[in-house]
């Protein structure tokens, strides 16, 4: 039995550490990878808790589908728009972590001081085995006592599909955003957002554009000419 506890603790530790990593990574792709790690650990814990079917669903739905979706969306978002690279909000972090710690402390106290009492049900290891295994039990229950919720869930999923189609359709009458990018950047390294202290450097370089439809600029550094439309506008106004 000690091994079980040990494995559980190990899995828990990894899950927590990767969860912390997820919220601290600046790059969202890294966060996503950390989240995958957490979810895999959770799935493993599910198996330990005799929820094999759920573990499979967890892997398939979360790790497989949702995370892939997230990554797809991440790819569609312009990396320069990622806000964490811009100005930080230290107070927000302090308050966030503070509140988290207090709540964690309170809940820990609650967990340690309270016991949850309930009548044990029939689905212990033997019961589940007798019924033919975890999946069979879930299946039987779902389609006997939970028919209505299952139908409702189906409806929700259908609605979500339609909603996603609606949200994802192209806006024809949408005017081009005034914030469209005007300066092209060729990145030598991975993408970075423009930081305020880079703008003087850009101005100092005073590079003239070549004729043609595209701006082609050679940069020595990834951040050298990175700027945004707003700064362009500001520049236009000052001139």
């Amino acid at each position: 039995m000690a091994a079980e506890v040990l494995i559980f603790n190990l899995l828990s530790a990894v899950a927590i550490v990767s969860a912390v990593a997820m919220i601290t990574m600046r790059n969202p792709v890294h966060s996503a990878i950390a989240l995958v790690l957490t979810f895999v650990n959770v799935a493993a814990i599910f198996i330990m808790l005799r929820a094999e079917f759920l573990a499979a669903v967890q892997i398939i739905v979360y790790t497989g589908a949702v995370l892939v979706l997230i990554l797809f969306v991440l790819m569609l978002v312009n990396p320069d728009d990622l806000p964490e690279f811009h100005s930080g909000k230290p107070m927000q972090n302090v308050f966030g972590f503070g509140v988290g710690l207090i709540l964690l402390a309170e809940i820990s106290v609650a967990i340690l001081t309270r016991t949850v009492v309930a009548e044990p049900g029939p689905w212990n290891e033997e019961g589940v085995a007798a019924a033919g295994g975890n999946i069979q039990v879930i299946g039987q229950l779902l389609y006997s006592g939970y028919v209505l919720p299952i139908q409702a869930t189906a409806l929700v999923l259908l609605a979500a599909t339609i909603g996603a189609l609606f949200l994802g359709r192209p806006d024809e009458d949408q005017e081009p955003s005034p914030k469209r990018r005007t300066v092209a950047t060729i990145s030598l390294a991975h993408t970075r957002g423009a930081d305020d202290d880079l703008i003087p450097a850009l101005r100092a370089a005073n590079i003239k554009r070549e004729a043609g439809d595209r701006d082609l600029i050679m940069a020595r550094d990834a951040d050298e000419f990175t700027t945004s439309a707003e700064e362009e506008e500001k520049k236009g106004q000052s001139e």
């Binding site: 927000q92 308050f95 509140v99 207090i102 709540l103 309170e106 809940i107």
Partner: protein, 630 residues
């Protein structure tokens, strides 16, 4: 006979309603004949009723229907005729009929004639119902109804601002009196549990002396308003804005005497309270004196007669106050004739002078309108108390009464007032009919009135001259013996002939002296009225300005009340109450706007708030355990 009693008031009512609804489009001038016939019918029907009362000495009544059946407050509409009512019936229908006939001539050509001949019979109806009521509430109803008719008729020429204001003033001032009268009725009901005359009069003694006094005074308050006593007589002179026949019928002969009638009607109550009688006599004599002094200074012929009316009403009031009940009613009757005559005569003068009312622009009219002159002279002499005309007998009896019932001070003032009466009456006669012609003969062509107007004058003049003999000899006449039945418990005083002769002598002397002074002043010009006025200085000014009563009311009551109302509206309503209401609304809006700032739109803040909430709730559970909600 009692079964068709209801016809007496019904006929004028029917005429009034028909004329009002159909008059404008269908009847037009025919309305005058309908109204006159209806009143004539009432008059003819009243005669047998009067004769029956004379012969049987029994009151008759006819129950019509129950008006208000509110639990123990059960008010019937019952017609009731006793000696007092019968007298009033004849006066009202008789004078009313003559005024109707006169009005046919006077109102000739007025486009609103159908209205006039609708309101006038309506007034006759109301007045008849007033005198025939058998309980105080029905009396009050028609008390108000005659006020309505008075309002409508004073404001008959409603396009004149002055007429409209006078009508309003008359109604409102009367309502001040009605305020007291109404409370009096409430008090009667609460005290006696009924407001029927018979029931109340049977139980008068059951109430305390104070209550009786208060009731009597409250009833007198009504009379102060309606019978134009001090301090509420201000409406009556203004009421002269109405057509002159209206002044004759309503504001001289009948309606204004309703107050006196009510006091006489409530004789069993009023006579029980010496204090109330005292107040009535003081108010009455004061009214008589003040009005007489004002009358001497007026130049408008109708105003002179109007103030004379007020003064004579004062005579009636203090007659009642001193205990000369029958004398008061006697004077009421004679006054109805001679004052009606005076008004109609004045109307005839005005008619002949093309609507001129100022005596300073008249003079020497005797030769242009002889019938008017002679009838007016009879009326004036009767009013002034020249023997043997009607006014002499009744007024002399009133003054005699003050002596008989030991009111010496009142007697003295009454004699002075009688002197003033003679002064103003003959002043009017001489200024109007004698002396030089002060009008512009190019513009005004005085002429005698048509026969339809002079015949009522002559009839009234005959009555004004002779009606006094129904009360002859004083305190022992036929009228006294007839009316004594309406005043149970009243005894006719035994007066020595010598006393009668002394009083008659003094009265005649006073009246003749007034005549002589005015003759000297306005015909012989040996006395200058302006000189006397200058001599009296402020006293003359006081009288000429009607003792500043209107101004006093304006400053003391009207303006403060309007200002207070303004304050209530602009401050209490708009600032305090609405301010509170709007203040609550503003507070809510302000609080909400402050809270709205919490809606930053930042998800992080919302989550933060949720987390804080969770911390607080969980923390509370940690600290207080599950006892938190108990």
């Amino acid at each position: 006979m009692s079964s068709w009693l209801f016809l007496i008031p019904l006929l004028p009512l029917a005429a009034a309603v028909i004329n009002f609804i159909l008059g404008r489009w269908f009847l037009q001038h025919a309305s005058q004949w309908l109204a006159t016939l209806a009143v004539a019918g009432s008059f003819i029907l009243s005669i047998p009723v009067f004769l029956e009362i004379v012969s049987d000495e029994q009151a008759i009544s006819q129950h019509l229907y129950t008006w208000i059946p509110a639990g123990d407050f059960d008010i019937p509409v019952t017609l009731f005729v006793d000696q007092l009512t019968a007298t009033m019936l004849l006066v009202v229908t008789g004078v009313g009929l003559l005024v109707h006939i006169y009005s046919i001539g006077y109102m000739h050509g007025d486009p609103g004639i159908y209205r006039f001949f609708s309101y006038l019979p309506l007034f006759v109806f109301s007045m008849l119902m007033l005198v025939m009521a058998n309980n105080f509430l029905v009396l009050f109803v028609f008390w108000e109804a005659v006020g309505l008719c008075s309002f409508l008729l004073i404001g008959f020429w409603y396009r004149r601002r002055s007429a409209a204001s006078a009508a309003k003033k008359a109604f409102i001032v009367n309502r001040v009196g009605d305020f007291g009268f109404g409370i009096g009725i409430l008090l009667i009901f609460v005290t006696y549990g009924t407001i029927e005359y018979a029931g109340v009069f049977d139980m008068v003694g059951d109430a305390s002396q104070t209550t009786i006094t208060v009731i009597a005074l409250l009833l007198f308050t009504g009379a102060i308003g309606k019978s134009a006593q001090l301090p509420l007589f201000v409406w009556l002179p203004d009421a002269m804005e109405g057509p002159t026949p209206v002044s004759a019928l309503i504001h001289a002969a009948t309606m204004v005497t309703a107050g006196i009638f009510v006091l006489a009607r409530a004789y069993p109550v009023v006579s029980q309270s010496a204090d109330a009688m005292m107040v009535i006599s003081i108010v009455g004599i004061a009214t008589a004196f003040v009005a007489a002094t004002i009358a001497v200074t007026q130049y408008d012929i109708k105003k002179v007669v109007a103030y004379s009316t007020v003064s004579q009403l004062g005579f009636m009031a203090f007659a009642i106050g001193t205990g000369a009940w029958i004398a008061a009613i006697f004077h009421l009757v004679t006054h109805a004739f001679f004052k009606g005559l005076l008004f109609l005569g004045a109307g005839s003068v005005i008619h002949g002078m093309h609507e001129e009312q100022d005596m300073r622009k008249m003079g020497g009219l005797k030769k242009y309108m002889p019938i008017t002159y002679w009838t007016f002279l009879i009326g004036a002499a009767a009013n002034a108390g020249i023997i043997p005309l009607a006014g002499f007998w009744s007024k002399d009896e009133i003054i005699l009464g003050t002596w008989l019932y030991d009111h010496t001070v009142i007697m003295v003032i009454a004699f002075i007032t009688a002197f003033f009466t003679s002064l103003y009456m003959f002043r009017a006669v001489f200024m109007t009919f004698h002396g030089e012609e002060r009008f512009n003969p190019d513009e005004v062509h005085p002429h005698e009135s048509p026969r339809i107007m002079t015949i009522p004058l002559i009839v009234l003049a005959v009555f004004a001259a002779t009606i006094g003999f129904i009360g002859f000899p004083p305190e022992d006449g036929w009228f006294h013996h007839f009316l004594i039945n309406a005043f149970p418990g009243l005894t006719l005083p035994d007066v020595a002939w010598s006393t009668i002769f002394i009083f008659a002598g003094i009265s005649t002397l006073i009246a003749l002296s007034g005549l002589f002074i005015q003759y000297m002043a306005y015909v012989k010009k040996s006395i200058s009225p302006a000189g006397i006025a200058g001599l009296l200085g402020p006293l003359y000014k006081l009288a000429a300005n009607r003792w500043y009563l209107d101004e006093i009311y304006d400053v003391l009551i009207v303006r403060p009340l309007v200002a207070f109302s303004m304050f209530l509206w602009r401050f209490v309503d708009a600032q305090v109450i609405d301010g509170t209401v709007n203040g609550v609304a503003t507070l809510v809006t302000y609080t909400s706007q402050q809270w709205r700032k919490a809606q930053t739109g930042l998800i992080a803040n919302y989550v933060f708030a949720i987390a804080l909430g969770a911390i607080i709730i969980i923390g509370a559970f940690m600290i207080f355990g599950s006892n938190l909600f108990q």
